[in-house]
């Protein structure tokens, strides 16, 4: 009988004569001879977006517990799920299932995908050192070239408000509407208004990575007062590391006309002291409420108000040398489509200059743009960046917070917004969280390992919270015909791993509308309880909208999957490819062939005996079923094998008939832990032709409370005694076998904005 369908993808466990319990040997070759059924999964539209209020970083340990997140479905399709996962050590494989709801706990598996450990690690910008899951993880950058912004963003931890007896307003303190920036472990504040008049006071505030904000220390005053419409940034000399504070523009009178003055001072990063201010070469244009950023010893002045409602779209830049600025140059101006150039945020990450938001006098803006910074200090062409999820504009002259080389973040309108940026450009979208803290004077202390401590001070208190760089694995999990408004579950289970190598996830509060609480169970136990403190998993779900470029392929029900890694820059070059093909797992039942006897196999409605009359491939014996001729069903039942809930199993038999028979099937019986029979899974009843070894298979997930499975080879329809059935193999196999994974980096001779040209190498990362 012809092998007509293209076999599903499978990786080999054996040689070409692979053991027949997992597959027909010919399938190993024939899988390459046809096109496979599958899905191309795109970025998609978010249908479930996390927006927590600050939770516990890496609180959930998948090495000890299965985690389930219920959610209310929006729409009818799912394309992929993005899950925050931290590999500890080398991590482990991750099994992700979409499940129906069963009285509040995960029920029937609708779709399932296994993500190999190699993918998770290769796409992570940070990981934890191997070690016990009972202590906080020690986080480090991985340096993985595919740990791009596409798969790594930021997580906001819980915030606390702390009394801070160093008010920023009033006599003896700093002023309102001050210009502010931060650098290293110091917030720097200058100018502002007090009693309606511009001031010249300057203060520094020390902070650390543990949540402690120091007092405001007076520093050398400005040479002239400023009403807070000036802007400052800190430039680092790339040769000496010296920090120069550059203070530009503003107005010497409250609400007055802009000026083009430039002052600098040197910040002693050991003591926090500032030297005397010195005047520098004036800017080409007098501006106020503009934006500033610095990179590689250059400072940039972007846009700003020119007085009388006028706006500048210019971008000027200057090199800071020995604390001095001797000249300014003009570079690529902002696009004319930028709605306003005042009160914008600006920041630099990974060699890209970003500007976003602004305030036009009536409305805040969400526009975002970025341009590459060239080696000359000039910038290249502006490209649109993902728009900010909420309107943002500068308060008190604070730029966007640059989180080392990992991206940018800011607080606006009760939201903490962040944009991951890597050397390959920005992520495709901002992440948001609900910010319940307060304060406008901002600082960000870097732990140097993908962790930061955020500060926001105002009046007599400050808010502080941890921020963690977060790997997010994108899991292709296509499903259609779902019910809008119904409850489903994302079941997340680690596969394998050990005490030192496992996975962790975040837990957060009030993550989703309706606040569905995450569930936890001991691994494979399926006994569910609420996650501690009623937290949830801040995952994200996307539909099957064919938006942007392909991100995944998902073939043969998830047997073979892939992920395409691209740059975030306009060229969208492919820089990596992750592939995985499942290898059929060994049978879970002990006696899957009869070379060594019948084991615990039994017959019902007939007899069972060993036979050498008809044997399959290299096997030496088969089990012979001789029907009684009187029973409606004659069948052979295998030994009981332990099964795991949430998994999918295949039952397969290979059998032979000299005369052929019309009604043969393979079934799976399910039993509870105490041997109680559950509803069996019945395979398709079909004919076995004469004199042809034929494989019958069925796949199913164990029902709730099942602990054991049993494979059954059956002839139905009252088979006559002459309908002998020789069974060569009867195997119950976990569908989720071991993945054969690969991760490949694709390199080019150049990087954007230089045309990248053709690829120059493929590097096997895993």
């Amino acid at each position: 009988m012809p092998t007509t369908p293209t076999p599903a993808w499978m990786s080999n466990r054996d040689t070409l004569t692979s053991d027949p319990s997992g597959s027909m040997g010919s399938d190993d070759l024939n899988q390459y001879l046809g096109t496979h059924a599958g899905n191309i999964i795109y970025q998609g539209k978010s249908v479930l977006t996390p927006n927590g209020t600050g939770g516990a970083p890496w609180f959930l340990v998948l090495g000890r517990a299965d985690i389930d997140q219920p959610f209310t479905m929006s729409g009818t399709t799912i394309g992929r799920v993005s899950i925050p996962v931290l590999p500890v050590g080398i991590g482990a494989d991750l099994l992700v299932s979409l499940c129906a709801n069963n009285a509040g706990v995960p029920g029937t598996v609708i779709q399932q995908t296994l993500i190999p450990q190699e993918w998770i690690y290769a796409l992570s910008a940070v990981s934890a050192l191997p070690g016990s899951s009972f202590v906080s993880p020690t986080i480090n950058y991985t340096g993985n070239p595919l740990g791009t912004a596409q798969f790594n963003d930021f997580f906001m931890g819980s915030n606390v408000s702390v009394s801070w007896p160093f008010p920023t307003t009033g006599t003896g303190g700093a002023n309102t509407a001050t210009s502010s920036t931060f650098y290293s472990n110091y917030i720097i504040m200058a100018g502002g208004t007090s009693g309606g008049a511009a001031t010249s006071g300057v203060y520094t505030i020390t902070y650390d990575t543990t949540g402690v904000l120091g007092p405001a220390i007076p520093q050398q005053s400005l040479p002239a007062p400023d009403d807070g419409s000036a802007v400052m940034t800190v430039a680092t000399d790339p040769s000496t590391g010296a920090a120069t504070v550059v203070y530009t523009g503003g107005s010497t009178t409250a609400g007055g006309s802009p000026i083009n003055k430039v002052y600098t001072t040197t910040l002693n990063t050991i003591t926090g002291n500032l030297t005397s201010w010195s005047a520098q070469t004036n800017m080409p244009t007098a501006v106020q409420n503009h934006a500033m950023a610095s990179y590689n010893g250059y400072v940039y002045v972007i846009g700003g108000g020119t007085g009388g409602g006028g706006l500048s779209y210019s971008v000027s830049y200057a090199q800071v040398q020995n604390g001095q600025i001797s000249s300014w140059a003009q570079t690529t101006p902002l696009p004319s489509s930028v709605p306003t150039t005042v009160f914008m945020w600006a920041g630099v990450s990974n060699g890209f200059l970003f500007v976003f938001g602004g305030f036009d006098g009536t409305n805040g803006q969400t526009d975002a743009w970025y341009a590459p910074i060239l080696s000359s200090g000039a910038i290249g062409a502006w490209s649109p960046a993902p728009p900010v999820p909420t309107t943002v504009y500068v308060t008190d002259g604070i730029p966007a917070m640059q989180a080392d080389q990992s991206g940018l973040m800011a607080v606006a309108n009760g939201s903490f917004v962040s944009l991951a940026v890597s050397e390959f450009g920005p992520d495709t979208g901002w992440q948001t969280a609900t910010y319940t803290g307060s304060g406008v004077i901002l600082g960000l202390a870097s732990g140097g390992n993908g962790t930061w401590q955020y500060y926001a001070a105002a009046n007599a208190q400050y808010t502080t919270m941890p921020i963690d760089l977060t790997p997010r694995i994108s899991v292709p999990l296509p499903a259609t015909s779902l019910t809008n408004g119904a409850t489903y579950h994302i079941l997340i289970q680690q596969q394998g791993g050990d005490l030192n190598n496992y996975l962790r996830m975040h837990a957060d509060f009030n993550v989703f509308p309706g606040n569905p609480i995450g569930l936890s169970s001991a691994r494979a136990a399926f006994t569910w309880s609420n996650i501690l403190n009623n937290m949830a998993v801040p995952l994200q779900i996307f539909d099957q909208s064919a938006l942007a470029l392909p991100l995944h392929t998902w073939e043969d029900s998830g047997t073979r999957i892939s992920t395409i890694v691209r740059t975030g820059t306009p060229d969208l070059s492919i820089i990596g490819l992750c592939e995985s093909t499942l290898q059929p797992a060994p049978p879970v039942n002990q006696t899957w062939n009869f070379n060594n006897g019948l084991g615990q196999w039994t017959a019902t409605g007939g007899t069972i005996a060993l036979s050498t009359a008809h044997v399959y491939q290299q096997l030496s014996q088969s089990a012979l079923l001789t029907p009684s001729g009187a029973a409606a069903q004659s069948f052979l039942s295998g030994d009981l094998a332990p099964v795991l809930l949430g998994h999918t199993y295949s039952g397969a038999i290979v059998c032979f008939s000299t005369v052929g028979y019309a009604s043969v099937s393979v079934n799976i019986n399910w039993y509870t832990s105490v041997g109680g029979a559950l509803t069996p899974t019945s395979g398709t009843v079909s004919a076995i032709p004469a004199n042809t070894w034929t494989r019958f298979a069925v796949a199913a997930s164990p029902p709730a409370t099942a602990a054991y499975g049993q494979i059954v080879a059956m002839e139905s329809g009252t088979p006559p005694a002459s309908a002998l059935l020789y069974v060569a193999t009867g195997a119950l196999t976990d569908h989720q076998g071991v993945p054969q994974a690969s991760v490949t980096q694709i390199t080019y001779g150049n990087s954007w904005p230089t045309p990248v040209g053709p690829p120059v190498s493929l590097v096997q990362l895993a």
């Binding site: 092998t3 040997g25 010919s26 390459y32 496979h36 059924a37 070894w693």
Partner: protein, 243 residues
């Protein structure tokens, strides 16, 4: 080994061959077959058919010009699950198929339905001489329950049948066919590799995006093959699935 082995799928119960691995290590000889220009046809259907159950079925044709043919449209149907249908182009001898085969294409049953349908079939590039008689032949295959049906035309002659493939009897009807040459026109319709060991068919939507893809590869055992049939799914013009 100096050349890439011809395509060959694996058959259950057969020993694997080194060539079945090595077939993936090199490029295969292939023909890319486009719609082409029609070079001859007989297309007025009579509404009846001849079955391949124990019967070879052939149709004569004589080109009016020198031409090279590589694609045919035939009207066929299948009943039950017969072994694949072998379709050959042969020279003529004594007014009957000579047995000298110019091209062979194996058509799997999955390619057809129970309803007579015009299907495109690739062949090897076959050079035909003007004024010379040729035949296309369907081999006998199947039984009373499993067979192929070849549609007839209203022509009063042209077809012959045989019970053994060598002794032929002319019939009072013709068979439906269209033949196309190697002109590169229209969409890429077929690939034909290793003298028919592997061939594919692609159909297209009105906007020129692929609609279906069928793949056939001969396998080791007699009458065995590997077959795939996929339909492309789109969201607008963006490919989203293969089913």
């Amino acid at each position: 080994m100096t050349t890439t082995p011809a395509w060959k799928g694996a058959s259950t119960g057969s020993q694997p061959l080194a060539g079945q691995v090595n077939q993936f290590l090199g490029t295969h000889a292939a023909t890319f077959i486009y719609v082409g220009a029609s070079q001859g046809s007989s297309t007025t259907l009579a509404g009846t058919a001849t079955n391949t159950n124990s019967l070879y079925i052939a149709q004569q044709f004589t080109p009016g010009s020198n031409q090279t043919i590589q694609r045919w449209i035939l009207t066929l149907a299948v009943t039950g699950s017969p072994a694949p249908l072998t379709y050959t182009i042969q020279t003529s001898s004594g007014g009957a198929p000579s047995g000298t085969i110019l091209s062979t294409t194996v058509i799997p049953k999955e390619y057809l339905t129970g309803v007579a349908t015009a299907v495109s079939v690739p062949t090897a590039q076959t050079a035909l001489t003007s004024g010379t008689q040729y035949w296309f032949v369907f081999n006998a295959v199947g039984d009373v329950s499993n067979f192929y049906s070849v549609s007839r035309t209203t022509a009063a002659s042209g077809a012959s049948t045989s019970t053994n493939g060598s002794t032929w009897t002319a019939q009072g009807y013709g068979l439906y066919y269209q033949r196309f040459d190697t002109t590169v026109t229209g969409n890429l319709t077929h690939t034909y590799e290793d003298t028919g060991a592997r061939w594919t068919t692609t159909t297209f939507n009105a906007n020129a995006t692929p609609n279906t893809l069928q793949e056939y590869t001969v396998a080791q055992a007699a009458n065995d093959y590997v077959y795939s049939s996929r339909t492309f799914g789109y969201s607008g013009t963006v490919l989203t699935s293969l089913t």
